[in-house]
């Protein structure tokens, strides 16, 4: 089903999408999208929404099982508290991606902004994975509690910029961040450390990269040819003693 979003107010567009999903449509194509907020939010069915144009903020929030494919760039706050499903962005994306994300996948081809993967979490089989192919801004993995972040630093529009910003992993206390080609340790937050991958890490990472490459028609060998490192939190409770010492 094709919906022309040219000049359509976000509430009307989202009502049309929800209506299409409710009536059993499983493939929805949105054309001429520009800035409409909340696309794909709270969708509970495994439908595929393909978007031409730049969707507005809060794409795929609370999404549970749908797939959203953005053919161009996307804006801020993608996948807030997303439960399952997938978001694929064929360009760059903005700040605060995957906020409190609990499951599913977010694959961004190019650069990402600040606070990516903030407070991602995981529980039992729910393990969110967010992969950014370009550079990232500051606070990558801020307050991360679980799940997986992968930063490639390969497909950037801004090659002069550093692969990642400052305060990398601030407040991180769970989950893992994989970084292709190493991290700039002077930009790490004090809550995290850098480690080599073990065999289990390599197997898991290969799986994530293979799926990412399928989405963007890339060669996983090229991505995996460079060494990856992992960033882990030093503590599960980095601020336990911040205001008063905790009893031992």
């Amino acid at each position: 089903m094709k919906i022309d979003a040219q000049g359509v107010y976000y509430r009307d567009l989202n009502a049309q999408i929800r209506n299409a999903v409710a009536t059993g449509t499983d493939k929805i194509e949105l054309i001429n999208v520009n800035g409409q907020y909340f696309i794909g939010d709270g969708i509970n069915k495994p439908v595929t929404i393909t978007i031409s144009g730049v969707p507005g903020n809060d794409l795929a929030a609370f999404m549970n099982g749908a797939t959203v494919i953005v053919k161009e760039n996307a804006q801020d706050n993608i996948g807030n508290t997303m439960n399952s499903g997938k978001v694929i962005v064929h360009g760059h994306a903005g700040d605060v991606l995957g906020y409190g994300m609990r499951g599913g996948r977010i694959h961004i081809l190019k650069d990402v902004g600040y606070r990516v993967g903030i407070h991602m979490k995981s529980y039992q089989d729910n393990k969110p994975v967010l992969i950014a192919g370009g550079n990232a801004g500051d606070f990558f993995g801020e307050y991360m509690a679980g799940g997986v972040l992968v930063l490639l630093g390969m497909f950037t529009d801004d090659p002069e910029k550093a692969k990642h910003g400052y305060l990398f992993g601030t407040g991180m206390h769970g989950g893992v961040i994989f970084v292709r080609g190493g991290v700039d340790e002077s930009r790490l937050a004090k809550e995290v450390g850098v480690f080599d991958l073990d065999e289990d890490d390599r197997t898991a990472l290969e799986g994530y990269i293979n799926e990412y490459c399928k989405d963007f028609d890339l060669d996983p060998k090229q991505i995996l040819a460079e060494q990856f490192y992992k960033v882990l939190p030093r503590s599960k409770r980095p601020y336990g003693n911040m205001y008063c010492p905790m009893p031992r």
Binding site: N34, G35, Y37, N57, N73, Q75, G94, G137, F139, K161
Partner: protein
């Protein structure tokens, strides 16, 4: 008993929006373009403030200071006009053309005056004995009108530019001020969601002084420190809103103290000490000096601002980027906005589109004498 909902799920999702662009070659663009861009971000505001900064709109009066005045009562107008006549040669004065529309409630009166300072005794004293420039004299008059005349506010006071602002959504304010009838080479626009301060006509953005104009998304939590610092230099804050300090601070840093726009931005959003400590000697000394001298100019709190002058357009974020800012280039145009879609709405295929890092100014100056 039926359970009661714990929340009202219909929320006002506003968060302020800004957009602006400059033609570096000075190509003039009609007001309908900026209106289209800011209208796309309609939902970032809540109808309590909209405004526009426009440059290059008064070429016939380019040598005169264009005073946009807002009057809340006729006494304010009478006193201000007496004040202006005593201190200025007024080449032209007129109502700012407006269109009465039903969305705009109780608008104040708007007038504009194209004027030059008169050679009064007071002017001669200021220039010859107090080492003041024409701009200093104008600043003093603006402060005097805002501070001393009840119900009169200078909306803008630069040459060949003007600010148009009020209570309403920006597209309504544009309609009210008939902005599509103007054309200029730099435009900024703001959609307001007032959080801490009143949504009144003078509190809409942009905030201006001379030809500086500021639109801002965020909140300046260092307002008290900044305001007291500015008071030492004769700037009086009268608009009841944090953003006002940014306009005066840039006037102080760039025009009075001669800082480059780049260094002025560093003073507003300097690197953290922990980063400064890692820098090479000369940079460390520079940033240390800026932070020591201009500690009271530092803007704390989240912000994305656009500031414009006849020389160009500059975008700046707070150091940890707590508000969005996206920039783009196409031919000699540079665009800056809260959302990429607001740029795409008026420039569908920019050659470059990027988000600057926190504290990293994007400086787009006009080329030569536009």
């Amino acid at each position: 008993m039926k359970p009661q909902p714990t929340h009202i799920f219909e929320k006002d999702i506003s968060n302020c929006g800004l957009t602006g662009f400059v033609s570096k070659k000075g190509t003039r663009v009609g007001g309908e373009v900026i209106i289209k861009s800011i209208s796309l971000m309609h939902d970032r505001g809540n109808g309590l403030g909209g405004g526009f900064g426009a440059y290059g709109i008064y070429p016939d009066y380019r040598d005169f200071y264009a005073f946009h005045l807002m009057y809340e009562n006729s006494m304010a107008q009478q006193l201000t006009e007496e004040y202006l006549e005593a201190n200025f040669y007024i080449e032209q004065q007129e109502d700012i053309p407006t269109r009465r529309i039903k969305e705009i409630a109780n608008p104040p009166v708007f007038k504009r005056y194209f004027a030059k300072p008169l050679q009064t005794d007071e002017y001669k004293e200021a220039v010859e004995y107090q080492n003041m420039t024409d701009e200093d004299v104008i600043v003093r008059h603006v402060m005097a009108i805002n501070h001393e005349i009840d119900g009169a506010f200078v909306v803008s006071s630069g040459k060949n530019m003007g600010a148009f602002k009020g209570v309403g959504f920006p597209e309504e304010i544009a309609d009210f001020f008939r902005l599509e009838e103007y054309s200029g080479h730099i435009w900024t626009a703001h959609n307001r969601f007032p959080t801490n301060t009143p949504g009144w006509w003078g509190g809409a953005h942009p905030f201006t002084l001379l030809d500086w104009s500021i639109v801002h998304n965020g909140e300046i939590s260092s307002y008290g420190i900044n305001k007291r610092y500015l008071e030492m230099y004769g700037y009086l804050c009268t608009m009841l809103t944090d953003t006002e300090v940014v306009a005066y601070m840039l006037d102080l840093l760039i025009r009075k103290h001669g800082l480059t726009p780049q260094l002025a931005c560093t003073a507003l959003a300097p690197p953290f000490w922990s980063l400064i400590d890692q820098l090479p000697d000369d940079e460390r000394e520079l940033y240390t000096a800026i932070r020591q001298v201009y500690g009271s100019a530092l803007l704390n709190g989240p912000f994305a601002i656009l500031f414009a002058s006849n020389q160009g357009l500059i975008g700046l974020n707070d150091r940890v980027k707590l508000r969005p800012l996206v920039c783009a280039e196409f031919e000699d145009f540079v665009y800056m906005a809260s959302e990429e879609s607001a740029i795409r709405e008026i420039c569908p295929n920019p050659t470059r589109i990027w988000s600057p890092r926190g504290g990293e100014p994007v400086i787009a100056m006009v080329e030569g004498n536009v």
